[in-house]
Amino acid sequence: MNWLMLHLDMLKESIGRLAQQPFATLLNVVVFGIALSLPVGFYLVLSNLQQVAGQLAAEPQISVFMALNADPEEVSTVEQRLRRHPEVGRYEFVPRDRALARLKRNSGLGDVLAELRSNPLPDAFVVTARTPRPDVLEQLQTEAAGWPRVEHVQLDSDWARKLDAVLAIGRLAVSLLAVLLSVALVAITFNTIRLQILTRRDEIEVSKLIGATNPFIRRPFLYFGALQGLVGGAAAWLIVAVSVQILNFGLTNLATLYGTNLRLAGLGLIDSIGLLTFAAILGWIGAWLSVSRHLWQIEPK
């Protein structure tokens, strides 16, 4: 109970100290907010892309294209092989005429395609595997490619996997950015706390002389650092939330033009808590380093 009171007192004192210097506090909070909102914003864009890619890659399909001059009998042989194959879940036959009609309808290239003397598209099967594991898909792909009169077999999840690889690089870049900015934020907190220590050095000295332990001396500064980080994290959260709203406003126009529903998802609850915790921890670390350095300097030699 006494212990709890002690910590509540510290918290109250730290809030008081933040409020005592509103301008310096505001500057630090803004720096925290902007610095943290950059990696968080990029992370958000990446995870949105990730989700789109994930949806597309979740049910990867294999397109089996027949040779252009394959006759119906040869096509039905392939169809029978597909029907009997244990790894094939579903398949759909797309005759070349239907493929051409669909292309004319969807691509807006109707005029160009009308000029063609013959249909350039082959008969095709769109195959969904029973288990969408990459190794199964690849095996199915090589197997089907060896069948007679099969011209080409394409794994449609290929591009999704390439996108995934690009996103992985993006995530790495965001992590690097986050690490660099985190170091900067620790340094900023270090300096803020150093200035506070300078104004309270008598108090620290006297407290040590009359039996204060190092954790006791660190505690108010740690509270201050963590609290400042927390408020900075909240600022970053706000910046990201407002940016997402603004971007979504712009995306609505884009989406109506394309006739789809494009929306950026904001930060989820877990991510928000993670952001605030992380910001508080950065402030705490900066404060800890700063006070520990000072305490080490005044240690009796």
């Binding site: 008598d202 108090e203 040590k208 009359i210 039996g211 204060a212 332990t213 190092n214 006791f216 009796p300």
Partner: protein, 217 residues
Amino acid sequence: MISVSHISKRYAGGYEALRDVTFSVEAGEMLFVTGHSGAGKSTLLKLIAAIERPSAGSVLIKGQNVSSMKASAIPFLRRNFGLIFQDHKLLFDRSVYENVALPLIISGFPRREIARRVRAALDKVGLLGREKARPITLSGGEQQRLCIARAIVNRPAILMADEPTGNLDAAYAEEIVGMFKAFNQVGVTVLIATHDVSMIARLGAREVHLDHGRLAA
């Protein structure tokens, strides 16, 4: 209670403040450390309170070797001491009450107990009515008494004072000396560094005399 054996203190630059000093203090004893200014009195007190570490020799307090103590254990050792500093070391941005309460807050006393003890300590030094005052508004003698209140609020076993009557006039000094005598009578071990010969004469206690860092007979 306190056993100082063969301690020397050499500062960076080669200045030797203390050379091979040995003596001991019994529990409940009152002892004066005397000598000219610069003889090493303050240094000696600092070594006993583990504010500085000796270059050689050891200090034992209640059987514990202070000189080789881990840094994390020193705060708990200090809580046995009441320290009265030559330059007072009061916090001028805090009230009289808060200054005296500081050692109790550090030791983690509950708030009600702190209030009770602070009033008792302020009462003993005659500052009970000045709780809310800032130390800067107090006279030199009052500041010294505030310093004493802070030193005794923890009910220490050992009271150490560095030149407690240094720049006080005779009447104030008399008062302060009376307080030390009273504390000693209730069993507190008292160690006072002073060059004030009249004080020693009045109290008639044992004396350790330092001369250029050496113990003089």
